[in-house]
C-alpha cells in the first residue's frame, strides 16, 4: 500500500469505522441506542469482532506513524479503547466457578494460610478465654469493658425466666427481623476487620482483640451469673460458623497488612495486589459462613423449648463439620 494521504484513508475505512462505532454505542447502552434509533430498528451486530478490532488497531498505528490529524487519531483511539473493553470482557461460568470455589479453592486457601490463621486465632481466643476465666474470679471486671446499661440489657436477653425466645431484648422481635439484623451486623464486622488490615494490620488487630475481649466479657459475665443453659445453649449452635468466620476475616486482614509490612521481594503495591486477591478469596467464603451463622442464630439457636441435649449435639456436629471441611475438603486434587 502506498503512503496515502489522510482523506483517501478516511474515505476507504469510513464505512467500517461507522459500523464499529455504532456497535460500540449499542453495547455501551442498549436502551439509549434504541431510544435514539427507534424501537423498530434491529440492534447492530458485528461480524468477527476480534478481526475488525485488530484492523482498527492497525489503522490507529498507521495514523500515528503518518502523523494524521490528531482528531482522527483521537477518534481511532476512542474506538480501540472501547473495543478493548469488549474484547477482553471477562466471561466466566458463574455456577461452575462457585462450586469449584467451595469444593477446592476456599478450604485449600485456608490450609495454605495456616500461619496467619494461627495468629488470628490467638488474637481472638486469648483475650476471649482470658476474659471468660478472669471474670469467674473477679466478676466486677465486666464493668471495665461494658457499661452498666449494656450489662443489664445483655442479662435480660439471657434471663432463664424467658420461655419463648431468647438472645433478644424483646420477645416481640421476629426471627426474620433478627436474621436481617445479624447479617447486616456480623458481616459488616467481618468486612471491617478485613479492610482494617490495610492500615498496617492495625485495624484488624484492633477489631479482633476488641471482639475477643467483648465476647469474652459477655460470656464470662453470664457464666458467672449462672445463666449457663440459656447463654451457652443459645450461642453454641452458631459459634462454630460465626467465630471461625471472624477468625478468617482477621487472617484475611493480616494478609493485607503483611503486604505492607513485609512485602518480601515484591514492591509494596504488587504485594498488596497479590495478597488482596488471596484475602478477597478468603472473604467470599467467610461472608457465606457468617450468613449461614446468622440463619442458624435467628431460626435455631433462639428456640427456647429445645432440649439442651439436642442443642449441644447439634453444636458438636457443626463444629465437627466445619473443622473436617477445612481439613479434608479439596485435598488430593489439582487445585
Amino acid at each position: 500500500m502506498s503512503n496515502i494521504k489522510q482523506e483517501p484513508f478516511i474515505a476507504r475505512h469510513q464505512a467500517q469505522w461507522e459500523q464499529f462505532e455504532n456497535w460500540l454505542a449499542y453495547k455501551q447502552s442498549p436502551r439509549q441506542w434504541q431510544r435514539k434509533h427507534g424501537e423498530q430498528v434491529t440492534p447492530p451486530t458485528l461480524e468477527d469482532m476480534p478481526r475488525q478490532y485488530r484492523q482498527i488497531c492497525h489503522h490507529l498505528a498507521i495514523a500515528n506513524t503518518r502523523m494524521y490529524s490528531p482528531l482522527l487519531i483521537k477518534r481511532l483511539d476512542h474506538m480501540v479503547t472501547q473495543g478493548h473493553q469488549h474484547l477482553y470482557e471477562i466471561r466466566t461460568h458463574f455456577l461452575r466457578s462457585i462450586s469449584r470455589y467451595f469444593t477446592r479453592t476456599f478450604p485449600a486457601l485456608i490450609r495454605q494460610e495456616w500461619r496467619l490463621l494461627v495468629i488470628a486465632s490467638l488474637l481472638f481466643y486469648v483475650p476471649f478465654f482470658a476474659m471468660l476465666i478472669g471474670l469467674q474470679f473477679y466478676p466486677d471486671m465486666v464493668y471495665s469493658v461494658l457499661d452498666g446499661s449494656s450489662v443489664r440489657s445483655i442479662e435480660s436477653m439471657y434471663d432463664p425466666s424467658l420461655h419463648e425466645r431468647f438472645g433478644r431484648e424483646r420477645e416481640a422481635d421476629s426471627d426474620v427481623l433478627m436474621f436481617g439484623h445479624y447479617i447486616l451486623n456480623n458481616t459488616s464486622i467481618d468486612f471491617r476487620t478485613f479492610a482494617g488490615g490495610l492500615f498496617f494490620g492495625i485495624g484488624t488487630l484492633f477489631y479482633t482483640l476488641f471482639n475477643g475481649v467483648y465476647i469474652g466479657a459477655v460470656a464470662g459475665h453470664l457464666t458467672q451469673l449462672g445463666y449457663i443453659d440459656t447463654f451457652w445453649g443459645f450461642v453454641s449452635g452458631h459459634a462454630s460458623l460465626e467465630l471461625t468466620a471472624l477468625v478468617f476475616s482477621a487472617a484475611a486482614g493480616l494478609k493485607l497488612g503483611a503486604a505492607i509490612i513485609r512485602p518480601g521481594r515484591k514492591s509494596r503495591i504488587r504485594a498488596l495486589i497479590d495478597n488482596g486477591k488471596i484475602s478477597m478469596n478468603i472473604m467470599y467464603g467467610t461472608a457465606t459462613m457468617t450468613i449461614m451463622a446468622a440463619f442458624v442464630e435467628a431460626f435455631w439457636s433462639s428456640i427456647a423449648w429445645m432440649p439442651l441435649v439436642v442443642k449441644y449435639s447439634v453444636s458438636a456436629l457443626l463444629w465437627a463439620l466445619v473443622i473436617s471441611y477445612f481439613v479434608w475438603m479439596g485435598r488430593n486434587r489439582a487445585a
Binding site: 496515502i4 494521504k5 489522510q6 482523506e7 484513508f9 478516511i10 455501551q28 478490532y53 485488530r54 488497531c57 492497525h58 498505528a61 502523523m67 494524521y68 490529524s69 490528531p70 482528531l71 482522527l72 483521537k74 477518534r75 483511539d77 476512542h78 480501540v80 479503547t81 478493548h84 473493553q85 470482557e89 471477562i90 416481640a172 422481635d173 421476629s174 426471627d175 426474620v176 427481623l177 433478627m178 436474621f179 436481617g180 439484623h181 447479617i183 447486616l184 458481616t187 459488616s188 468486612f191 471491617r192 478485613f194 479492610a195 482494617g196 490495610l198 492500615f199 485495624g203 493485607l256 503495591i269 498488596l272 495486589i273 488482596g276 486477591k277 478477597m280 478469596n281 472473604m283 467470599y284
Partner: protein, 230 residues
C-alpha cells in the same frame, strides 16, 4: 513534557491505549450522586418495611446490607464499570491496564472503601490519590484498578462543508511532518474561531503566509492538499 495525567498501556495488538485517570473532584461529584440514590432507596425500603411489620423489617435489613456493600460492585461489573453517579460524570472503573474491571477487583476496591473513608469523609482516599500518579485510592491500589474518563468523541467533526470547498494548494516549500500536522490541526479548529483571530494565528507561521491576504484560508488550502482532499 507531560502536563496532563494521561498514561498509555501497550496492548497485544501492538498499539498504545491512552487512558486518562479522573481526580478527586469529579469522583466526589459521582459519589454524591450515588449516595443520594442510596439514601433514596433506603428511605423507600424503610417505608415498605414498615408496612410489612417485623418480617418486612428483617427483609429490609438484608436488602440494606446488600445495597450497602454491593451497590457499586453490581454496577461496576455489569454496566461497563459505571455506577449511575460515574455514568453521569462520564467516568468508569477499569483495571489499570485498561481491561474491564473484574468481580474480584471490584469487590476488593469497594470493601476497602471502608478504610478509605477514614479518618473523616475519605481522608485516606484523598491522601492516597494525591500521592499516586493515577489518582488511585487505597482500594484502587489493592484491586489494581483506576477510575478513568470516558472520552466523548461526539463534539469534534473531521469535516466542515464550508472549509472543505477551498481549493487545495501545494505548500510553497517542503514542510516537516510536525509542521504538516500543526497545519492540519489548525484547519480542523478554524471553524470554531473568529475570522480575525484565525488570521492572527495563521500569521504566526511567518514565511509561509507572508504575501497572503487571507492567511487562514491559505493555510486551510494547504491543509486540504496535505490531507489529500480533491
Amino acid at each position: 513534557m507531560q502536563i496532563d495525567t494521561t498514561y498509555s498501556v501497550a496492548t497485544p495488538e501492538g498499539i498504545h491505549l491512552h487512558l486518562t485517570p479522573a481526580g478527586p473532584i469529579p469522583r466526589i461529584y459521582a459519589w454524591s450522586i450515588d449516595i443520594f440514590i442510596r439514601v433514596f432507596l433506603y428511605i423507600g425500603i424503610g417505608f415498605t418495611a414498615r408496612l410489612l411489620g417485623n418480617f418486612g423489617a428483617g427483609l429490609g435489613l438484608i436488602v440494606i446490607f446488600i445495597i450497602e456493600w454491593f451497590y457499586p460492585v453490581f454496577f461496576e461489573v455489569l454496566y461497563n464499570g459505571q455506577t449511575p453517579g460515574k455514568k453521569m460524570f462520564n467516568l468508569y472503573v477499569a483495571q489499570e491496564n485498561g481491561a474491564p474491571v473484574s468481580i474480584g477487583s471490584s469487590m476488593v476496591r469497594n470493601i476497602i472503601r471502608f478504610i478509605d473513608f477514614f479518618p473523616l469523609l475519605y481522608g485516606f482516599a484523598f491522601v492516597s490519590m494525591m500521592l499516586s500518579d493515577k489518582f488511585q485510592r487505597l482500594g484502587d491500589l489493592a484491586a489494581n484498578t483506576v477510575v478513568l474518563y470516558r472520552p466523548d468523541n461526539s463534539t469534534h467533526s473531521l469535516s466542515n462543508e464550508e472549509l472543505d470547498t477551498i481549493k487545495p494548494q501545494h505548500p510553497p516549500f517542503a514542510l516537516t511532518p510536525k509542521e504538516q500536522q500543526s497545519i492540519i490541526n489548525f484547519s480542523h479548529r478554524m471553524h470554531r474561531l473568529h475570522h480575525d483571530r484565525s488570521d492572527e494565528l495563521a500569521r504566526l507561521t511567518g514565511d509561509l503566509v507572508r504575501d497572503q491576504k487571507h492567511p487562514a484560508q491559505y493555510l486551510q488550502a494547504i491543509a486540504n492538499s496535505l490531507t489529500g482532499k480533491v
